[in-house]
Symmetry: C2
Subunit: 356 residues, 2 copies
Amino acid sequence: MDNLYAVVLAGGRGERFWPKSRSNMPKQLLTLTGQSSMLGETLKRVGSLAPVERQWVVTGEDLVKSIEKIGIVGPRLIGEPAGKNTAPAIAVAAAEIAREDPEAVMMVLPSDHFINDVPRFQQALRQGADLARRGYLVTIGIAPARPETGYGYIERGEMLPDCSIPCFVVKSFREKPDAITAGKFLKSGYFYWNGGIFVWKAKAILEQIEKHLPELHQKLTAWQKQGGLSAGPEKFAEFYREVEKISIDYGVMEKAERVAVIKGDFGWDDLGSWEAVERFHPRDQQQNVLVGNCLAIDSQNNLVYSDDGMVAALGLKDIIIVQSQGAVLVCHRSKVQEVRKVIEELKKQPDGKKFI
Amino acid sequence: MDNLYAVVLAGGRGERFWPKSRSNMPKQLLTLTGQSSMLGETLKRVGSLAPVERQWVVTGEDLVKSIEKIGIVGPRLIGEPAGKNTAPAIAVAAAEIAREDPEAVMMVLPSDHFINDVPRFQQALRQGADLARRGYLVTIGIAPARPETGYGYIERGEMLPDCSIPCFVVKSFREKPDAITAGKFLKSGYFYWNGGIFVWKAKAILEQIEKHLPELHQKLTAWQKQGGLSAGPEKFAEFYREVEKISIDYGVMEKAERVAVIKGDFGWDDLGSWEAVERFHPRDQQQNVLVGNCLAIDSQNNLVYSDDGMVAALGLKDIIIVQSQGAVLVCHRSKVQEVRKVIEELKKQPDGKKFI
């Protein structure tokens, strides 16, 4: 397995976790569950499969310093001059890794997910690497726990032989469904959540990028001929600036052949909002979750979170309160997905920028 | 008028204004309306009647430093070794003032009220001083603006002659009424709110204290014979420790004769809670009041107040949010009178005390 690489995508801004996440310290760099940052946990989780010298992190150029600041210094860091969604980020990592090892197998991992059962997660990745060596583009599908409308789904087809856990040919990728469709997906047992976890040969994904995203591939090849990353940040920026924003799902996976899905059943959470954080803390008798120096009086079903000062809730119901770094969010539970509206508003205010 | 003294009672803790008010910096020392602290505004408001050398402030022993810290250094400060309600505080001030000037007339003023029309307020006090010289114990009644159940009321009797504004004999003092009674009071036109503003000769109130609170008077006299305040804080504490807690209304005014009430109509507000503060700021189109670095999105009828950092409200209705000195209160409007519950809770917590 010494040609297995980990590529962690860490370019997100985690705006739904404001005010704890900030533009220079987004969600994946925060300790929301576990012992260290979500990125740190992600790297640790795959360390036995891909040790630090075969770990790559693709992130925003401006986040490289923040990553080093939280003590992540082993992996190679690719600082993107601009966010271009997942396909260009994966293409760059694949090209650089293939240059180092033409037979390399790479795992692509989001940097901000929680995984409960790490051994089972590793087993799925190991199975993924095996299928990747057999020529598949592999995605780890998440066994759905509820009729969620917030994720894309993967429809499984025929089962693949010679696998230690259930693996299938992918029949289709599906966009975020409506509630009725999500219910049907869940009931059928044929659908998995698309969690953005992939395993493939670097060479194989580059071939598929060449086929389905020829313009990206052409620019990538030209830049690689100049020396790729080793040619320095200016050349990188020159190439990357011209690249189209597109996801690997939409740009490649939905069109590619020989795509496999592994049933992932290891306790997964994408920590999509402050409501998700609640699931990692005990509730009091009034169904309040209190984290940090907080108290709740005559209050039911609130999240009160402080890592800075203290917060007192009085007579509240269904409210999310987060105090961090001098800023406070007070948000009705029903609006927890709309926290980025606050950031949009802060951008307009002269005094707001320092709180973004 | 050179024997007119101002005695400002500044012993309150203003717990309903937490987290902006703290035990060492209570409501009356905060700038909630106007240009300076409420105590500072109170002293300024009567400066033309009783200049600084005839101003006395009675406050908690531990607040003397806080008062000096906010720049109030002219008036004489009496630091009570314990809170004993208004009768003992007034008795001490009256005794000390009478020692300085046996014919002194003293105005007694709460330190934490807002007054809109200062000239009319001064006119009422001047009229009060005139009646005090004619031997009356005078209270300034506040012309009621609504059927308020949170205040005591003063029932007026016969009109007094030779006054520049309406003055009456007091027929009775009434405890806080229920809503129906408050409505009747308002409709009748014969009732005023008891705002705790008094004018009398120091000698006259001492005589009434002797008559109605003989025990207090006896202890006061013994202490005065020792030298009063000039005998030092230990003697003061020795005397004061033994004194019964009692209000001047209950202890003296309700039983005294020759009590007059002046109709006060000068725009008065006792700033009883955060909801009162709202009245001093403009509302946005969604009826939110935003003070300081705050924003409100998809929110109606909230108060968002920050003097420290910033606060964002999202999807809220009828919520009061106050951020001050590292602490945040988030409180439903219906609970705004119960903020002291938070302080009670903080007292129990090891980390809570620094936020009180």
